[in-house]
């Protein structure tokens, strides 16, 4: 049976179903809509692993990613959003979430499906 994540990151497996997303806009939406307790649980697990995960993926190289590496990358990208909720906004996150839909992400280098351009 193939692994869902590279060896050493099994603790993150329960989070793949929720936190894998194709675009920055989707990741931002997950930050806003996933219940706060689930968001905090994901953060507790991924934050201490992020440095090591990036080292390992850097060593592998983007061009050589298999499905497990790609899953780990997607979780790290979700951490880029969730980390801001937990580490920057903290108890203000709910208030902050109300402001975010006003500024829509339309494009990011990590997006797997590139959106249409949106300059006026």
């Amino acid at each position: 049976m193939s692994r869902k994540l590279p060896k050493g990151f099994e603790a993150l497996e329960p989070f793949i179903a929720i936190w894998s997303a194709n675009t920055a806009a989707q990741r931002d939406n997950l930050r806003t809509t996933v219940p706060a307790q689930q968001r905090a649980a994901f953060h507790r697990v991924i934050a201490p692993l992020a440095n090591q995960a990036l080292d390992q993926l850097d060593e592998k190289g983007l061009a050589n990613f298999d499905a497990a590496d790609e899953n780990l990358m997607q979780l790290l990208l979700a951490y880029a959003h969730v980390g801001h909720a937990e580490e920057v906004q903290g108890s203000d996150e709910a208030k902050h979430a109300a402001t975010r839909p006003r500024l829509r992400f339309t494009r990011a280098p990590a997006d797997r499906a590139t959106n249409a351009d949106s300059l006026p």
Partner: protein
């Protein structure tokens, strides 16, 4: 004592005394008649940023841009001769808009109505039964708009013979060219619409007085004991344009996600020579409504496009050199984008609250302090241009 440890000194009133100290009239921030004057006096005569050359990399690449303030649709095309041109997206037969797609690649642009077909240089190539017309083909080229590229950014100007933007900017061009944007091949983007006048929206981003109140969590590194309001270390004025040098709190510590995000992009940025700039803390505010923050690993451009007297649109882009080269770079770019986005999200509600207050007509004037001198400068320049336009129109 080196520059890093030097105590913060705020910009003195003497430095900005030439801008005056009068209260600023409130009406130009909501009045529809004033906005109509700005359309002609400011926006039809100024350079506006509409994109980046990385969007039109090859012969035939094009982008379409809508500029509501001038009721204009523009087609920006790289011709067969590699030259970049801007045209009105308007068929010269009977005015139909030629292109609906936001971007693409073509060698010909055909009007859907009667199939008049134009080349990537704007010339009319063919038109069915053209012999029936009473005009020469060479007089039917697409109407061109002045275009200039600075630091990879595409600016357009609707004046017939505008002063070159590079001449207006002088030394700022070299500084802008030293930033990643000048070599960018891709970007992140987020956009917003706001129920607020373009100046009121823009002003929010050229003063730091509000930082500690509106961004108590996300703006931490911008304020400190020496500088509790996060005022700029320096401001400068360049004709209609202006800059400020952002002060950073040397004692601030970043949350782990930001430390990881910024830290993981620095090796690649260093390898690409992106850290070699003197403009790394500079905020470029180009008239009328363009910003660029110079930080090499968070080099973002923010343009506020007016829609009406009380409605605007913002487009924010973070420019990157090369596609993601590693997992670290991919993660870092996403995290750095979210850092900027978190700050910008916090501004919209308070800008709209300001607009509602001003639009109520309760105030005849608003007030700007010494550390809001960039806002005062913008208003002074706008007012001067509107008055000059009125005088020109009245023949005086």
């Amino acid at each position: 004592m080196n520059a890093e440890s030097k105590a913060f000194e705020q910009v003195s009133q003497e430095r900005v005394a030439f801008l005056g100290t009068r209260p600023i009239p409130a009406k130009p921030y909501y009045d529809a008649d004033w906005f109509e004057l700005e359309r002609e006096a400011v926006f039809r005569r100024s350079w506006m940023c509409v994109g980046h050359i990385c969007e039109v990399p090859e012969k035939g690449s094009f982008i379409r841009r809508e500029l509501e303030v001038l009721k204009a649709s523009l087609l920006i095309v790289r011709g067969k001769d590699e030259k970049l041109r801007a045209f009105h997206n308007v068929c010269t037969h009977r005015g139909t808009q030629l292109v609906e797609e936001a971007q693409g690649k073509r060698t010909r642009f055909s009007c859907p109505y009667h199939m008049w077909t134009f080349g990537s240089d704007g010339e009319l190539v063919s038109a069915p039964d053209f012999e029936q017309f009473h005009v020469a083909k060479e007089d039917c080229a697409l109407k061109q708009v002045a275009l200039e590229v600075i630091a990879g950014l595409i600016f357009v100007n609707f004046s017939k013979e505008p002063e070159a933007l590079s001449d207006q900017l002088g030394d700022l061009v070299t500084q802008m060219e030293s930033l990643p944007v000048a070599r960018a091949t891709t970007f992140s983007e987020y956009v917003y619409e706001i129920d607020a006048n373009w100046k009121l929206t823009y002003d929010n981003f050229q003063e730091n007085y509000h930082l500690r109140f509106i961004h108590p969590r996300s703006g931490g590194a911008a304020c400190g004991k020496d500088n509790p309001f996060g005022y700029p270390a320096e401001v400068d004025f360049h004709g209609d344009h202006r800059t400020q040098t952002i002060w950073s709190n040397p004692d601030a510590s970043a949350p782990a996600v930001q430390e990881l995000g910024f830290g993981r992009t620095i090796p690649a940025a260093m390898e690409k020579g992106l850290l070699n700039t003197d403009a790394g803390r500079k905020y470029f505010a180009l008239f009328p409504s363009f910003f660029m923050f110079g930080t090499p690993v968070q080099n973002f451009v923010h343009v506020v496009y007016p829609i009406s007297a009380e409605k605007s649109r913002g487009v924010i882009r973070l420019y990157w050199v090369d596609e993601d080269g590693s997992a670290s770079e991919r993660f870092g770019r996403e995290a750095i984008m979210v850092t900027a986005h978190d700050v910008h999200c916090e501004d919209t509600a308070v800008i709209e609250a300001g607009q509602r207050g001003i639009s109520s007509g309760a105030l005849e004037h608003i007030h700007m302090q010494t550390q809001e001198s960039l806002c005062r400068h913008l208003f002074n320049v706008v007012e001067e241009k509107v008055h000059a336009y009125q005088a020109e129109r009245n023949g005086s």
